[in-house]
């Protein structure tokens, strides 16, 4: 009753700001929530085993999360437009193997040219996905499920059971995977740069904002004159390109590569993105959140190891985390919708 009275007496503009405040808070609560979750995971582990928060193990933590975080950035661009790219694990595998093979078979390959090859392969895969989705008018879930098979199959067919070992790779590449600048691993720095560029693009560029518009309401976006097909194509190309880069970095990080590299990684990536607060039905979410989601999942894995909990639990925990993330999101969205409705009701009155 008091709430109703309150609504009736409050000026409409005040109610609107309240609703807007709630909506910003909901946006922030997610990234804050992940930070809290990270703390909840890290602090008890650190108490049990203080070595867990030493510089070296923190570096490893970031290093392990960086490849999934990279893929999560590309995935965010796609998911924001209400699509999904399930082929990223296969694209990474294909790019990783071909990059490694290039370096092994042609020892003189310059570092950047080799990495460029990986990126180009990813770009080509992404272009294929994008063309099928945008021109074929087919749901991205099915298309990328199909190309997940196709790219992985090509990967196996080209590899024919071979494996590239660290001994055959140039030192410059392997250094990239292990060297540090100011104590921070280079791989982590690359990931941070990619996150920053994507974040600025999504936040401040017209075409970046248009991705959110497409994801919120594709029909409205079309009517508003947004080139939906072209933007969709771009997101898949970018996702593929980033997966290609991640493939090349995978080689630098692990040194040993066969055709199975990155198998099943797509689930971790989707989990990271969803845990990071990117709505699976598009229209909201940030790359920073997705990267934090990847960091959280990676940290949990490391903590399980440190706490000597069998690694078998890892997958179940990742699944449970994803489910609770979407459940919390849904409950918050319902509250938000209710609050907005109330404010709208009064402003009409």
């Amino acid at each position: 009753m008091t709430a109703q009275l309150d609504t009736a007496t409050a000026p409409p503009s005040a109610r609107r700001t309240a609703a807007r405040r709630l909506s910003t808070r909901v946006g922030r609560v997610r990234e804050l929530g992940i930070v809290v979750a990270l703390a909840l995971v890290v602090i008890p582990t650190a108490i049990v085993n203080p070595r867990f928060i030493q510089a070296q193990s923190l570096r490893d933590l970031l290093l392990n999360a960086s490849i999934v975080a990279l893929l999560a950035v590309g995935q965010t661009l796609v998911v924001v437009t209400r699509n999904v790219d399930l082929s990223v694990g296969s694209v990474l595998g294909l790019s990783a193997f071909l990059t490694a093979q290039q370096f092994a078979d042609h020892p003189g390959t310059p570092l950047l040219a080799g990495i460029g090859l990986g990126v180009a392969i990813g770009l080509a895969c992404g272009l294929l996905n994008g063309l099928l989705v945008a021109l074929g008018n087919v749901p991205s879930l099915v298309v990328t499920l199909g190309t997940l098979y196709v790219f992985r199959g090509i990967d196996y067919a080209l590899a024919q059971g071979r494996q590239v070992n660290a001994a055959n790779l140039p030192d410059a590449l392997l250094d990239l995977g292990s060297s540090r600048v100011l104590g921070i691993p280079v791989l982590v720095l690359i990931t941070v740069v990619v996150i920053a560029v994507a974040a600025v693009y999504l936040r401040s560029y017209r075409s970046g904002r248009e991705l959110y518009a497409i994801g919120s309401n594709p029909e409205a976006a079309t009517l508003a004159g947004i080139p939906v097909a072209r933007r969709t194509l771009t997101t898949f190309v970018l996702s593929g390109l980033i997966a290609g880069l991640a493939g090349a970095l995978w080689v630098a990080r692990y040194g040993t590569v066969d055709a199975a590299a990155g198998t099943g990684l797509e689930l971790q990536v989707v989990a990271a993105v969803v845990v990071g607060g990117v709505a699976i039905f598009g229209g909201s979410g940030t790359v920073a959140g997705a990267a934090l989601g990847a960091l959280l999942l990676g940290t949990i894995t490391s903590c399980l190891v440190v706490l000597q909990i069998p690694a078998f639990w890892q997958q179940a925990i990742a699944g449970a985390l994803l489910l609770s993330a979407i459940t919390v999101d849904r409950l918050l969205a319902l509250r938000l919708a209710k609050a907005l409705r109330t404010s709208e009701g009064t402003s009409h009155a």
């Binding site: 298309v143 499920l145 090509i154 067919a157 997958q315 179940a316 925990i317 489910l323 849904r330």
Partner: protein, 319 residues
Amino acid sequence: MRNLLRWETALVFLLIVVALTGQVSTDGSFLSGGNLFYLGLDIGEIALIALPLTLVIVAGEIDLSVASVLGLSSALIGWLWNAGWPLETILPTVVVAGALCGAFNGLLITRLGLPSLAVTIGTLALYRGLALVVLGDTAVADFPASYTAFGTTPVPGTNIPYPIVLAAVLAVLFGIALHASSFGRSVYAIGANEEGARFSGIRVKRIKLTLFVLAGAVAAIAGIVYTFRFSSARADNGVGLELAVVAAVLLGGVSIFGGKGSLFGVLAGVLLLGGLRNLLILQDTSTEVLTIVTGLLLLVSVLAPSVTRRVGSLRKATP
């Protein structure tokens, strides 16, 4: 509807082409009883899971967790068997557990209104994770031969594997449910227009929940079949099988947007997928080519309706 019928005709035609090519290129061994037995064994689990999944997709939803339910049920069989339970008790328990997995999916989707894609990607990881927790990376293989025989020998006097008999019986039941009952009409109505279905008094949530429970229970049955076929209960049984099942269902002409498709088409899709794979194996094609073929079939099956629609509209545009 006419478009759909044409797709199924095309499927049957393709099946005949595959069968004839197989027959000619293998000097008659493709359609021999022995090979058909192996083909039947090979598609058993896919055929089983494709049945309820067809209904789920026709209703406009998706269940990607089915292969994980299969793995969890396999792991449970091994775990309970190690704990000394008799198989007569284990098997019904496992099916109930599968139904509970499906109910969990269904409740999250219908009661909280969460997208089935996100939920079942989550439970894909969760159920597979639970399977690993239950059984770890060990395998249980000491099942009595009287049970594993169901997965490895044909029905006496024929070349029909037991899983196919099971799938055929279930196919009739699911066929009646989808095509000859008000329940089935409701499923189509929900897939075509959920809002409209609700306003015409269809209990949308309850029907969707039922479909997910069925998918879970049948996936668990497929887990039993899988376990006995390989005489091995492992947590990683059937990893990635959801892709093959979804591919078969879509290949069968079911629209991923819901509201369209028939069980007959799906069965033809399963046969086509299995037949092609079998043919490629007979010709010593490597497994990587099989992977590519499965993926391409999936792509073609979703692109075909879109392409024919476009060609159709072009033809209409030019007088």
